[in-house]
Amino acid sequence: MKLVDTKGLRCPAPLIKTRQALNEASAGESLQIIIDNQTSLNNIRRFLSDNQIAFSVDERNSEWILTVDRGETSTVADNAESYCSTASAAAPKKTVIAITSDLMGSGDEQLGQKLIVSFFKVLPMVQPLPSAIVIYNAGVKLAVKGSVVEEYLKELENMGMDIVLCTTCLDYFGLSNDLAAGRVGDMYQILNIMNEADNIIKP
């Protein structure tokens, strides 16, 4: 296990160190990269996913530990010829998440709440990241201050995800002034986002 500590470094130094460590790591050796700022995290994630290098992210005390398993298949191409992106022939697929309730699934309320927390916790690690979340009906309760998923929604927003909250629903529940994350949209905007999606995930 190789450790790359990028704490205290500003962009693009963390990426340079990551790139260097990837070059030096032997096949099969895994790599842990410690990152302390959101911009560097986003850029390194982007770099790794564009180069088809699998990784996982773990957040601890406002630091992120990014683990890269460097198998034989995940080498970064060093020259133009050998680099071949598999997913780039067509535009990337657009995935949209529709949150229709403050619970995940139906059957048991307590379980439903546990599941929705877990859903949002895992969502930032999913690659490729869905492009937008639309939230309506009781789902909007998740986007207000003090919600059980507040921090994850903020993280997703920082990662560039478009989070759209149904304005009618916020009004209905009287929550319009307590938003923690996302922007407010009407049915036209929500429908357009869903209409342009290739996939819709409804947890």
Binding site: C11, P12, I16, R19, Q20, A80, C84, A89, A91
Partner: protein, 345 residues
């Protein structure tokens, strides 16, 4: 050197722009002016606004300023001024007048630095043949400098983002890479020669390119700055209702650029630009990752991106090369396809 300006900033030059996606969102909420004399407004994301005074003269108005891109205040003044004036050239205009815009912390940096920045601005203005007739200064940290520049153009000869036509070829007049080289220099990776080359390009006026565009009746062009080649090409494609194809292997890069990107020296602005362009772009199969990021590298005072009828391409290129030897055809304009921009090898 009296004071190293780079100690005041983390990101400089056009790298310091607001992310293009955010900017578009904000501007989309602003009312567009309604006045028949306005020939170009913000709706086409052009480099400058154009206002018709009479049948012979239209005003070209633009402003630009940013935090330091280099250590030396005089050089920073030269670069910031060249960059500000460039927007008038990109519209095919003749710059005439400028106002200084300066933000400077008088109690934190020696005042001599202030006058050195301005001296750079005045020298570049002189080279461009324009007069600085005023300005505005604010006490602020880190320092920022630029100009509001006014130029003139014939109302029928305005060159805009929306003038690229199917079948045209695209010429770029300066190599890419100054964002990467500036970052690499700050990381201690780039050599003095590489940094000096980047600064030389940033100081270079686009005046000759502009003159030749008028000579060859060009209608579509822009200058490549903070949104990178890909970002500006995309804006041009959208404004013109066409699809632009970039051939990245034909794009000249400043020395060291490819190697530093390959080592991971990719400024944050390049990722922001990538994030912006990919909503309406396709990277064709097998396009080199490093070239893809070079296309997104934010340029300061970059070259002109000129859309020229293919029949005229050779002639204008031959003339451009006298002043900008790296000028070359880097892409082509096609009927609007599924995506507005195709980035290939």
């Amino acid at each position: 050197m009296i004071f190293d300006l780079l100690t005041t900033v983390e990101a400089g030059g056009c790298s310091a722009k607001i992310p293009p996606r955010l900017l578009e969102e904000i501007l989309s909420d602003m009312p567009l002016p309604v006045d028949p004399a306005i020939l170009v407004d913000t709706s086409t994301h052009d480099d400058a606004g154009v206002y018709k005074l009479n049948d012979d003269i239209a005003l070209v108005l633009t402003t630009d300023f940013f935090p330091p891109v280099c250590s030396d205040p005089y050089e920073f003044g030269l670069i910031a001024a060249a960059n500000s004036i460039s927007d008038v050239y990109a519209m095919g205009g003749n710059p005439v007048l400028a106002l200084n815009i300066i933000m400077f912390p008088a109690d934190r940096i020696p005042l001599e630095v202030y006058s050195e920045i301005l001296r750079g601005g005045y020298d570049k203005a002189k080279e461009a043949g324009i007069s600085i007739i005023g300005g505005h200064s604010i006490d602020d940290y880190p320092p920022k400098y630029g100009m509001a520049v006014t130029g003139i153009v014939h109302p029928d000869r305005v060159i805009t983002n929306s003038g690229a036509r199917e079948g045209d070829l695209l010429i770029l007049t300066k190599p890419l890479g100054c964002g990467v080289i500036l970052a690499a220099s700050r990381m201690g990776m780039a050599s003095d020669e590489e940094l000096n080359e980047a600064k030389r390009y940033m100081k270079m006026l686009n005046n000759e390119g502009s003159r030749l565009m008028q000579k060859y009746n060009i209608r579509g062009a822009t200058d490549v700055t903070g949104f990178g080649l890909a970002g500006h090409a995309l804006k041009m494609a959208v404004a013109s209702g066409v699809t632009i194809e970039l051939k990245m292997k034909n794009v000249p890069l400043m020395s060291g650029t490819y190697e530093y990107i390959n080592q991971g020296c990719i400024p944050g602005a390049a990722f922001r630009n990538l994030d912006y362009v990919e909503q309406d772009s396709v990277f064709s199969n097998g396009v080199d990752y490093n070239l893809r990021m070079a296309a997104c590298d934010a340029q300061t005072s970059g070259g002109l991106l000129i859309s020229v009828r293919s029949a005229d391409a050779k002639a204008i290129l031959d003339e451009l090369k006298e002043f900008h030897p790296e000028s070359t055809v880097i892409g082509s304009v096609h009927k609007k396809g599924e995506s507005s921009l195709v980035i290939g090898n």
